[in-house]
């Protein structure tokens, strides 16, 4: 078991190191093989660990930080939650690495790319497997750094570098929350070990738990792009599509949810914290769905969709249903990665065109991509009997179960958001794949799509199958015991025993809502109406559309409230204080010394009158001193 865990962690990290040091001298094929091989090796090691798994296990690999009473050893903790997440991460990332080989085949920076990608996987696995908060924070920061480096991968274009910086700075705000929480934990619990902290819930006052919970929520808001720290994720689409798929859909953005789930035994004791988490999740879900409704860039649609779906996961955590959230997290990883990879195929095929209103007819030209993308879309919309349907429905059921006005309102909100989700998903599908061949681009009439390498197409198939069949992972109670429920039972006492009739009723409502969304999308974007929508898209956006297109103008709001005062203050400190006060003081001192020197120099002017005065003054001084002494 220890070996398996070590391999899980070390393979990606060592591969990254190898790329960093030797990548330039090794042949390209070898570099790519090494990168993919490391992740698949981790997957195999995870399968081995799962095979011999028979209960939570803590393994210490060595000591790391020690100071007085503070210890943070390199300890890994394998329990059902981290094991299932590890499986998902290694599998999805493995498929995405294969895809990335094809996507980046013309790019000269492949060495740096695969190094960062492997480093990212290593850091993410460290985050998931960490037993103490400091090691988790190490993984947290590692994924943050890799995200920054990969978003700004094509840094020669300034907007890419700016997007990377924006992501880093905004997530930093959340990281402050986590760092404060770690310090508070050490101060009050005398330990930073997660397993021990989770057991101390009964020994401390509720106010402390609420404080810790809210700080953790802040960290999760930053990393998982929840309201109000979600502004970085749409701009992060400036990175290559495999990066968007891996980091900003499947893995890193779920780290915040994972953190909350990990520490749920402690922070779940405070009703205020769970309510805050649920409200954040609900609001974010609505925000993401409304914004995705009007976007033109295919990757931005998917980015807002990610924000919305993670809002669902947070809502599930806030409702206390950890199993439902984990189920949705794993499902979402499958179909969102699938959608992003499919979008990457579309973009590459159309010579890097990303505007959905300029696409069309691709269901005939890219059949494999079309069917896989469609599979992902039905999962995202939550059409009945797909994996996405079961996972989303389990969250809705958990929220309904909580009862009370707050959760009732959140249920209604989540249901409305499900309608919007179906709507924007099929809008995207109809616009991209429907109709006839794409509008001719300016200056190049009737371009035929460029051929896609097969390595970009066939990783989509396993993901599609996993997405559609993922419902088998956790069938509802009336269809057999959910595998995941059984697996995660030690963590989650969410087996409230929901009544069969209620469950069927809820599922029926969810199904109706999803189909309604599909119908609405068809009525607006299907067949003939599609052409009309394309013409309308030619005009600039106005009113509500413009508001939603700009993401509820949050960027503008932050610029007004935070950025402009900060820039003003920085300017003030620079010009007034640094240059005016500090530099000028030194300058003035120097000038003063110069003037003194010149003043003294003008004493030897050759004029007798000056010399006579000096003589007289000197005599006065000496004689005066004698008189003073004699007194």
């Amino acid at each position: 078991m220890k070996l398996a865990l070590e391999l899980i962690l070390l393979l990606p990290l060592l591969a990254s190191l190898c790329h960093a040091l030797l990548g330039r001298v090794l042949p390209r094929r070898l570099v790519e093989t090494l990168a993919c091989g490391a992740i698949w090796g981790s997957f195999v090691a995870t399968l081995a660990a799962a095979a011999i798994y028979n209960g939570p296990v803590t393994i210490e690999l060595g000591s790391w930080l020690t100071a007085f009473t503070f210890t943070a050893p390199l300890t890994l903790y394998l329990d059902p939650l981290s094991l299932s997440l590890c499986l998902m991460i290694t599998l999805v990332c493995g498929l995405i690495h294969l895809y990335a080989v094809g996507y980046m085949q013309g790019d000269p920076g492949y060495c740096r790319f695969f190094m960062l990608l492997n480093l990212f996987v290593g850091a993410m696995l460290l985050l998931v497997l960490a037993e103490n908060l400091v090691l988790l924070y190490l993984g947290w920061e590692g994924v943050g750094f890799c995200s920054y480096a990969l978003i700004g991968f094509w840094y020669q274009k300034p907007e890419n570098a700016t997007a990377g910086r924006k992501a880093f700075i905004v997530t930093r705000i959340g990281d402050v929350g986590l760092a404060l929480a770690i310090v508070l934990c050490f101060q009050y619990f005398d330990t930073v070990s997660i397993t021990r902290i989770n057991q101390m819930g009964s020994a401390v006052p509720l106010g402390l738990i609420t404080g810790l919970g809210l700080l953790m929520l802040l960290a999760a808001m930053g990393k998982s792009a929840q309201v109000p720290l979600m502004v970085w994720l749409p701009d992060a689409m400036a990175g290559p599509t495999p990066v968007s798929a891996q980091i900003h859909a499947a893995t890193m953005v779920t780290a915040g949810v994972y953190l909350l789930m990990r520490l749920f035994p402690l922070i779940g004791l405070s009703a205020m914290v769970t309510a805050a988490i649920a409200v954040t999740g609900g609001l974010t879900a609505l925000y993401g769905a409304t914004c995705a409704l009007v976007q033109r860039d295919i990757k931005r649609i998917l980015a807002y969709s990610t924000i919305s779906q993670i809002g669902y996961m947070m809502l599930g955590v806030g409702a206390g249903a950890l199993t439902a959230s984990t189920f949705h997290l794993i499902e979402h990883a499958f179909f969102k990665a699938l959608l992003f990879l499919g979008a990457g195929c579309v973009i590459t095929a159309l010579h890097h065109e990303q505007d959905v209103f300029r696409m069309g007819g691709l269901r005939r030209t890219l059949p494999t991509t079309f069917y896989c993308f469609l599979a992902g879309a039905v999962c995202l919309a939550g059409l009945p009997l797909t994996g996405g349907f079961f996972s989303k429905d389990s969250i809705l059921a958990a929220v309904w179960q909580q009862g009370g006005t707050l959760y009732g309102g959140l249920y209604a909100l989540a249901l409305f958001t499900a309608l919007l989700t179906a709507l924007y998903t099929f809008r995207m599908v109809f616009l991209v794949f429907g109709g006839n061949s794409a509008l001719p681009g300016p200056g190049s009439p009737d371009r035929s799509p460029s051929p896609l390498p097969p390595v970009m197409q066939w990783p989509l198939v396993p993901l599609a199958l996993l997405g559609l069949g993922g419902g088998l992972l956790n069938l509802p109670a009336y269809l057999g015991q959910g595998l995941l429920t059984q697996f995660l039972a030690p963590l989650d006492d969410g087996g409230h025993g929901i009544a069969l009739a209620t469950e069927l009723g809820l599922q029926g409502v969810a199904a109706v809502v999803a189909l309604l969304g599909l119908a609405l999308a068809w009525s607006r974007y299907g067949a003939a109406r599609r052409g009309q929508r394309l013409i309308e898209a030619g005009q600039p956006a106005t009113g509500l559309t413009a508001f939603l297109l700009a993401g509820w103008q949050v960027d503008g709001l932050y610029r007004l409230l935070v950025v402009r005062p900060y820039v003003w203050l920085a300017g003030l400190l620079w010009q007034q204080v640094d240059e005016g006060l500090i530099d000028d003081t030194l300058d003035r001192v120097a000038l003063l010394l110069g003037r003194c020197g010149r003043g003294l120099g003008s004493w030897s002017c050759g004029r007798v009158s000056v010399y006579l005065l000096s003589l007289g003054s000197g005599a006065a001084l000496c004689i005066g001193w004698f008189a003073w002494v004699a007194l």
């Binding site: 005065l613 007289g616 003054s617 006065a620 004689i623 005066g624 008189a627 004699a630």
Partner: protein, 162 residues
């Protein structure tokens, strides 16, 4: 009586000197100065130094001051009585400094003076003997100095062929 005379002569000296200092016209200043020297000579006489008094009048007031007058006349300085008095910038530092020095000197003078020795009056013979016996070398040197002065004055004063 001699005491009173001393004080009167002292007053004359000081007043004449002050007038000499504050005159714009150099000739007026020099004449006031001569008055001052005459009073000073009388004081010397009262202080049992008749030879010095005579030398003061003959050489100082008679020769040196006359020389001053000669030079002032030669220079032909125009109409000095219409010239400006020295301004504030000139006499204010002077006044300040001499006040300091005067005060210090007064303090020094009044603090330490030894007791008077029983002093016999000095006669001219005493003076002559002291001068030529103990300070003979000084006399030689001073005479040579006078010679140098004459030579130098001659050199500086010669007219060049224009």
């Amino acid at each position: 009586m001699e005491t009173t005379l001393f004080y009167i002569l002292a007053a004359v000296t000081v007043i004449a000197t002050i007038l000499a200092i504050t005159e714009k016209h150099p000739v007026h200043a020099i004449v006031n100065l001569v008055t001052s020297f005459f009073a000073l000579a009388a004081i010397f006489f009262l202080l049992a130094a008749p030879l010095i008094a005579m030398f003061e009048i003959i050489i100082y007031a008679g020769a040196v001051m006359v020389l001053f007058l000669f030079v002032v006349m030669i220079l032909d300085l125009g109409h000095p009585e219409r010239a400006a008095r020295p301004g504030l910038f000139h006499w204010l530092p002077a006044v300040l400094l001499i006040e300091v020095i005067l005060f210090s000197l007064i303090v020094l003078v009044s603090v330490r003076v030894g007791p008077p020795a029983a002093a016999p009056m000095i006669t001219v013979q005493d003076f002559a003997l002291t001068l030529f016996r103990q300070y003979g070398v000084a006399i030689e040197i001073v005479s040579m100095q006078l010679l140098f002065a004459v030579v130098g004055a001659l050199y500086l004063g010669r007219r060049r062929k224009a």
